[in-house]
């Protein structure tokens, strides 16, 4: 619980205020989604948490049940009737506390449930909104709350030994690749997942190398180095706006035409689809995922890729990029260009199962046992493809699979697609 110090009584008032806020803030679209559910229970059959555990509490639409209750009681057409006759009681703090496990620990915001609903409800969108209300009610998980607060204040989710700006320069020197920082008047502004800065520096170097290969002016901005958005994970709308604003302002400052989102799923959703609404108007620059941008460059001939003879591969489609973002073909175009033998999993492209780490779940300690149990579905599917190398398109996925590798002593190691692209640039500019 956030601010665990405040007593139960004000906790209840905070919950009541949050639920009223949720209900009163609701727009026509979300209200329509809450109105039209017919309790058919099919969304459970899409969710890997239910499939793995067969536990009915993980039914996706059940995650928004208290919010449906609040909406019906406070803002729906018959709200007065529901209140006077007590058909819909107010949501209590105890009740909402149990929903923290459902909305955070057991939901990757992967959006697979939205594809199965026979009524067409975007259940994932409802869950994102439910997280906002949980945040307002002070019920966001400790890890996500702390990182979101830290990031909105300092730009970094956590304090680091060296500021990321220094670490970035260090990576540049280590790999001998120029990583321009704080340049102005550039074509493309870059940012990187802080997971790559700390755990996978090669991916950062690969990004620099590829951009150098394309010969397009690009820069990092020290005030907006981090691609992740913990406000999005924690459900803190204001903090999500503040974090996104950093990137937007820096992109405007350096007059970038394109803000490139690195291999990070939720960063794409936060910047490409939600930032403009939080900003209030259309962004003066394009937001593109790195695979999208490179596929475009490949098509325009600016990117030249050689064959990478590493035999067969399997690829984890990041949910936020592929299922929710529509970036499905770009990575496949790149892989085809590199002559890779891609072995598709049983559930692939927009129907693939989530890595289990997304939506901030990989950061939540207490969610780990459930996460491992749910990942077995994904690991079985990857092994079933008997593809040689296992590629991912998102650093959270990579972090989650590395974690699983240690837990299950899994024989595969997740590799970054971008790093592979950097290695197969033709003619190779600098040995990696």
């Amino acid at each position: 619980m956030n601010d665990v110090t405040i007593d139960a009584e004000s906790r209840t008032s905070q919950v009541t205020a949050a639920m009223k806020g949720f209900a009163h803030e609701i727009g026509a679209l979300s209200a329509f989604r809450l109105e039209s559910c017919i309790h058919c229970g099919m969304c459970a059959d899409a969710c890997h948490y239910y499939i793995a555990t067969e536990d009915p509490q993980y039914t996706p639409i059940w995650k928004v049940e208290p919010f449906k209750q609040a909406y019906k009681r406070e803002a729906s057409a018959f709200a007065p009737v529901f209140r006077w006759f007590g058909f819909k009681p107010a949501v209590t703090a105890e009740q909402l506390a149990q929903w923290q496990h459902l909305l955070f620990d057991s939901c990757n915001l992967c959006g697979r449930c939205s594809l199965i609903c026979p009524i067409g409800i975007d259940v994932a969108a409802l869950i994102e909104q439910a997280r906002h209300a949980m945040f307002d009610a002070g019920l966001a998980p400790e890890e996500l709350y702390r990182k979101a607060e830290h990031q909105q204040r300092t730009g970094q989710p956590e304090a680091s030994l060296e500021p990321y700006r220094e670490q970035l320069r260090g990576i540049g020197e280590q790999f001998g690749i120029p990583l321009p920082i704080d340049a102005n008047e550039v074509e493309v502004m870059l940012c990187v997942p802080r997971t790559d800065i700390e755990h996978y520096p090669a991916a950062v170097a690969a990004l620099g190398l590829v951009m150098q290969h394309l010969g397009v002016s690009h820069t990092f901005r020290s005030d907006a180095l981090v691609a992740e958005n913990y406000g999005y994970y924690a459900g803190g709308k204001e903090w999500q706006r503040a974090i996104s604003l950093r990137l937007i302002e820096q992109a405007i400052a350096c007059h970038a035409k394109v803000l490139l989102i690195p291999e990070c799923g939720h960063a794409y959703t936060a910047l490409r689809w939600e930032a403009a609404d939080l900003y209030g108007k259309e962004l003066p620059f394009k937001v593109m995922a790195v695979t999208e941008y490179l596929a475009l460059a490949l098509a325009e001939g600016r990117l030249r890729l050689g064959k990478a003879d590493i035999g067969s591969v399997s690829f984890q489609d990041p949910c936020q990029l592929d299922r929710k973002g529509g970036v499905t073909e770009a990575p496949r175009t790149l892989m085809k260009a590199m002559g890779l033998d891609l072995r598709e999993m049983e559930n692939n492209r927009s129907f693939s199962f989530c890595c289990g780490g997304g939506g901030g779940v990989v950061d939540i300690e207490r969610a780990a046992p459930l996460r491992y149990r749910t990942m077995e579905i994904k690991l079985r599917e990857i092994d079933a493809t008997d593809g040689g190398t296992f590629l991912t398109g998102c650093s959270d996925c990579r972090h989650s699979f590395d974690d699983a590798k240690r837990h299950f002593d899994w024989d595969k190691t997740p590799q970054s697609l971008l790093e592979l692209v950097a290695k197969s640039l033709a003619p190779p500019r600098a040995a990696l």
């Binding site: 026509a28 639409i61 009524i119 409800i121």
Partner: protein, 222 residues
């Protein structure tokens, strides 16, 4: 001047029912539809015409589970659709029902199925509909989700089906009493309609189209 049950059911009760139906439906729909609609400022991945048409197309594609899901939810949806089709066949192709509808709407009646065929369809439909309740009671997911609305709406619809069957079979009471009970149960269904899940009849197509268009705007699958 005493009014027997049948005249009451066909007259004032039906008038009240239709009144409550229209008031309730419009009230509920406008109650949320007129709330604020947030414009999306992010750049769409394709033109308006394209993603709206994908959205409209989604009303068809989403009416059957995607191949990846059909193994798990195909049976459930098939059961649902089959009793819906049976119900609509009985409502729209049975002589007296057509007379009722065309009388109300003042349009020329259309050809109907033989009453014996309709009775057959009705019996199958009622059995399938009982199957739906069985599924809702035995599936742990559905039992968790189900509230008063789910069970009451099922009960009202089943009541309409059974009283209709009893009337056509002239079973259990005088014909006019059975017909009165059947029409009264239809009145009850019309009155309950706006307050329960039957509203999905109005919601399902716009919901698939709207959500489909929003997803298609991002180039995402529907």
């Amino acid at each position: 001047m005493s009014m027997d049950w049948l005249s009451f059911a066909r007259g004032p009760a039906l008038k009240v029912a239709i009144g409550v139906f229209f008031v309730g439906v419009v009230w509920r729909i406008l109650g949320f539809a007129l709330l604020r609609i947030r414009r999306e400022h992010s750049r769409p991945r394709s033109g308006l015409l394209r993603y709206v048409s994908i959205g409209l197309f989604a009303t068809a594609t989403r009416s059957w589970p995607h191949p990846q899901f059909v193994k798990r939810t195909g049976a459930g949806e098939a059961l649902g659709y089959s009793y819906h089709m049976g119900l609509f066949a009985v409502i729209l192709l049975f002589g007296p029902h057509v007379a009722f509808l065309c009388g109300l709407l003042g349009i020329h009646p259309w050809p109907v199925l033989p009453s014996s065929v309709i009775t057959g369809i009705a019996v199958v439909t009622a059995t399938l509909f009982a199957g739906v309740l069985y599924r809702r009671l035995t599936s742990r997911v559905m039992r968790l989700l189900s509230n008063f609305d789910d069970y009451f709406t099922w009960f009202i619809t089943m009541l309409v089906m059974c009283t209709g069957l009893a009337t056509s079979a002239h079973l259990g009471a005088r014909y006019e009493t059975l017909l009165a009970i059947h029409i009264l149960s239809v009145d009850a269904l019309l009155i309950w309609f706006p307050f329960g899940k039957l509203m999905h009849a109005f919601y399902i197509m716009p919901s698939r189209a709207l959500n489909g268009a929003i997803l298609a705007r991002k180039g995402a699958p529907t």
